[in-house]
Symmetry: C2
Subunit: 337 residues, 2 copies
DNA sequence: TATATTTGTGCAAACGTTTGTATTAAATAT
DNA sequence: ATATTTAATACAAACGTTTGCACAAATATA
């Protein structure tokens, strides 16, 4: 590596002191315009790049925040990352991204890495395994700002940015009812995860509001993949269950359902309406009704919230809870009318 | 923020010198096991976290690499990021991820940011706008290891990890021919971008090898979105062009083609075979033949290559060119037989 | 026993900044 | 003309590490 140019080099070249150079580069009012000009010019000439480590060491804080997600290459999370990056960049912050791979152990390691990198704050969505705050206890004791998004621990009070899953599910169900569907199956995720529980509750509430009796047999748990969606529909048909719509808590199972129905020459949406949740890119391509979660906005909100806390520097005990309102995206798969 | 614990604090507590503490923490052979034990214990007790800025400043290098991609939230790139992260983490490196948003200006800014963060090396895929090396001239003069992936400049000699687009396209075309398709339309991207040119060349070569005359009218440029795919098929049908297959240089246009054909009650694959390129997630869901580019592996290769150069520390003039072999994924949309 | 070697620890400089204080020169006020 | 203020720059310490060198004590060699 070639020797790096430092402010001392610039100072030597200009026959001045390096503190002058430092102040000139930082546009201090104590420095005359003339010297500022010449310093800037010389710095450019010599290709000066400030050594950020020295700066951060001296200043005692960094312009870097940490972001921990279960997996980077998931549409939802990569959109969140995009949002976080955008806001952070705007405010002159860098982002170090870590993935927990849905493991508590990796999550702990990530926290350690971020802390020893002196990040100014941390944004995270917990792994599926995470049941308590042990893995990020260190963040709390280190007293740096901390924001959780999407998946959050119920029992932990903290800054949060979450989606209103209840409302999203309510709207899907309401829409189905208004389209004339009456016997609505619900494909759910594991109910110990709060987002799926919330969606189920939204579904129930809508039924109740429209005086449709809730049938527990219509809830099929753990059907969030394409294959499980297919299998579930097969089973429904085999059992000759009388249904006219499916609200799936995930887009992949909605897709599976549609493919299976089509296989059996059952028309969607004429005979059976199908809706998903998450608005995965393929739902637009295939005209499947779904719920947009505004993942990029979620990332932006989380970053804004965190950076606000970071800038303030005082860690208050005031926690903020930001709710992202999801939006029902109506497409052909549920448009009977 | 609470005051950070430093090695001096630990030393004071143990009535020893801070250099001893430093060496103990770094497991230096010059320190007795007894002191190492007590230092480690005390460090843990006091919740010591090394100040990475001080370390990096002193050592003069960082365990961070930079990664510049056009967009983070694209399946292809998020997979590459995933691959890079995985390898980097394994070798104790962090990754700072930047997005150029397909703009040369942002690309330049990214480069500056990364350099002032003293990254040990940089991996990048150029933006669509980028025509020459001006935006990363600084990397080259800074003499840090540098690897380009996927989109690379032809005229710049550098370390590269690229996909063999020629071969991928050849195999798709060959497969179509072997399935009995003879009149194969090719939907291409902008031909000034080398990857699309390479794919077109692969297509031509396959035709030639199987004694099928090349018809320039069968090449439809700039048809890489779903809508453009639909429009192109509409046009073909309107013009009553006689074709029995479509090889699209991108999956979205292949999808558009299929949707449009289906609309016109033309059977896929029985009457017209359709293949895409990139193996986007939805192609699996919809059983569309495509070409897997192994984006995660591409990221892994790029990271391994870069880190190898970084570890060596000497910037050699030897550049490496790694080729990723794509794989044809045959699905229903082209299986006439 | 005297000397050489090994082992473990302490001292201090250095990495490249920022920033409080001291110093100088110039400008203004008395 | 001298005293005072102001503006611009210089000096030096500090941030928290790593690491070469010096040194003392313990052990090995003669």
């Amino acid at each position: 590596m070639t020797k790096k140019v430092t402010i001392k080099d610039i100072a030597r070249e200009l026959n001045t002191n390096y503190s002058t150079v430092s102040r000139a580069l930082n546009d201090s009012p104590k420095i005359s315009d003339a010297t500022k000009q010449s310093v800037l010019k010389q710095a450019k000439l010599m290709g000066y790049q400030p050594n950020s480590f020295a700066q951060k060491l001296k200043k005692g804080y960094s312009n870097t925040i940490g972001l921990i997600v279960p997996r980077i290459n998931r549409v939802f999370f990569s959109n969140v990352i995009h949002g976080v990056e955008t806001i952070a960049k705007q405010q002159g912050f860098n982002v170090i991204i870590c993935q927990s791979n849905e493991s508590v152990k990796d999550e702990e390691d990530n926290v350690k890495t971020l802390l020893s990198n002196n990040v100014a704050g941390i944004i995270m969505s917990i792994s599926k395994e995470t049941q308590n705050e042990s893995s990020f206890q260190e963040i709390l004791t280190n007293k740096i700002p901390f924001v959780m998004f999407d998946r959050a621990l119920n029992n932990l009070v903290s800054n949060q940015v979450v989606n209103n899953n209840f409302k999203g599910a309510y709207e899907v169900t309401e829409h189905l009812i208004k389209q004339g569907y009456q016997k609505i199956i619900h494909f759910s995720g594991p109910l110990y995860i709060n987002i799926y529980q919330d969606r189920l509750n939204g579904y129930k509430k809508a039924l109740a509001d429209y005086q449709i009796a809730f049938n527990p047999d219509f809830i099929i748990e753990n059907t969030l993949t394409k294959d499980k969606g297919i299998a579930a529909v097969e089973e429904l048909l085999k059992q000759k269950v009388d249904f006219d719509a499916i609200f799936a808590s995930g887009d992949y199972s909605a897709l599976g359902a549609i493919l299976c129905l089509r296989q059996h020459h059952i028309l969607v949406p004429e005979q059976v309406g199908v809706a998903g949740f998450a608005n995965e890119p393929f739902t637009e391509l295939l005209d499947i009704t779904s719920v947009e979660q505004f993942s990029t906005d979620m990332g932006k909100s989380a970053a804004s919230l965190l950076l606000e806390k970071v800038q303030r520097k005082e860690i208050s005990d005031q926690y903020q809870n930001i709710e992202i309102l999801p939006q029902l995206i109506i497409r052909k798969s549920t448009q009977k009318l």
